[in-house]
């Protein structure tokens, strides 16, 4: 150990040369920095009390150099480990992004396969009909029907890809100030009429003492509308949706959209924000709604969580920086 330090010039701040491979195999010991040097320094101070002046000074310089070197070495080790940590973080984010893209692409492929399959079959059926020697008026009607089904499925594909483009569109939030309950109420009014026809009531529980929030208002509107639509669709027959706003700790606010709907089975809860996860029948909804909400809320610097009990209902909570 002493040999290592003797080799070093404390001025440059370079530690003893240890190969990266060796460093990775065995973490470099900390005890020289935390125990040995401070201990030596303490001994040196005590000794200086008894030693003649010149010797004491030499001892002081020597110990001083050791301590300076120790501090510089520790600093460089902390720096190196910080750099490695942030590089690992970046790699993790990148691989998470790639995983998400991979999931998204396979999701699209699966989604589009269904309309493609219908189109392929209709085309085969049309080919069969056109192969008949004496086409009848019924055949003509069938041909028209198959053709319009193909057109319908093309539209379905368009919706899938357009939703996807929306999903991946890079949107930088544009912050503006607005009262949170105003943003909520505007969207609730849109849903209320339709909801009323179905026997669904909407109750408000707004904290009007909240100061105006600073956020991308149209983006937040999309999230609220999405949650309201989900709440509405979750309710079979009559029911109630409750919307509330409240403070959520220092500098944060929360929005809750709760419903008395069918609820979400516990095994689906972890997947609920995944792209393309849906419990709706084919052709109805693409399952991008909640994952879009999640993406937007993320971009707004917030978080979205869900609590649910099958048979009782669900509650989605969005927290945002105020």
């Amino acid at each position: 150990m002493k040999d290592d330090t003797a080799r070093t010039d404390p001025g440059t701040g370079a530690g003893p040369a240890v190969s990266p491979a060796a460093r990775r195999e065995r973490p470099r010991p900390l005890w020289p920095h935390t125990v040995a040097f401070p201990g030596l320094a303490a001994l040196a101070v005590l000794a200086a009390v008894f030693l003649p002046a010149p010797l004491a000074v030499i001892l002081a310089f020597f110990t001083g150099s050791l301590c300076v070197w120790s501090a510089v070495d520790m600093a460089s080790r902390v720096r190196a480990s910080e750099r490695e940590r942030s590089s690992l973080d970046a790699q993790l984010i990148q691989s998470q992004k790639l995983a998400a893209i991979g999931e998204l692409s396979s999701g699209i492929a699966h989604e589009i396969n269904n309309p493609l399959a219908v189109m392929a079959q209709e085309a085969e059926w049309m080919t069969h009909l056109m192969g008949r020697p004496d086409p009848t008026p019924e055949n003509l009607a069938e041909l028209r029907d198959s053709l319009s089904e193909i057109v319908r499925q093309v539209d379905r594909c368009k919706t899938i890809t357009h939703n996807l483009l929306n999903f991946s569109r890079k949107m930088e939030p544009v912050p503006q100030e607005e009262r949170l309950e105003r943003i909520m109420e505007d969207m609730v009014l849109l849903v209320e009429k339709e909801a009323g026809h179905k026997g669904v009531t909407i109750a408000r529980d707004y904290d009007t003492a909240l100061p105006p929030i600073r956020t991308d208002v149209p983006l937040l509107r999309q999230v609220i509308l999405n949650l309201l639509l989900n709440a509405f669709q979750a309710i079979e027959g009559r029911g109630a949706i409750t919307v509330s706003t409240r403070k959520a700790g220092e500098g944060r606010v929360a929005i809750v959209v709760a419903d008395t709907g069918v609820g979400i089975p516990p095994e689906n809860l972890p997947k609920i924000f995944n792209p393309f996860f849906t419990t709706k029948p084919p052709g109805q909804g693409t399952g991008l709604g909640l994952s879009l909400c999640h993406g937007i809320v993320d971009r707004l610097g917030g978080a979205i969580t869900v609590e649910s009990e099958p048979g009782k209902g669900s509650a989605f909570t969005v927290t945002l920086p105020a």
């Binding site: 607005e178 009014l189 849109l190 209320e192 009429k193 509107r221 639509l229 879009l292």
Partner: protein, 131 residues
Amino acid sequence: MSIRILIVDDEPDFIETMVKRFTFRKMPVTAATSGIEALTLLETESFDVVIMDVRMPGKDGIETLKEIKKRAPLTEVIMLTGHASVESGMRGMSLGAYDYVLKPVDFEELLDKVRKAYERKQLNEGRHSAD
């Protein structure tokens, strides 16, 4: 502050009322009675905020919104609707509409939304000029 407004609605009574009220506030307003007319106007003029009905014969509000966002992406669009339809509301919002409002609309509220939409346009323009 003179915000250049374009109103698009196939109901002439509604247009007339709106034009009167905006003119009274000294806000320059142009009217179009269809999506096509609106897009034609946009070829030669630029507007800050478009107020547009969702249901119009011919090119409907959503289709026109798509076109507006393609040609003049910084122009903010406020959609108006006589029937609340959550799904078309979501579609409009996800296509970039600034807001979605039920008719009959309170003029003061609409004015406030127009101002906020204009503010967003300015913030976006400031941002883009920095690129």
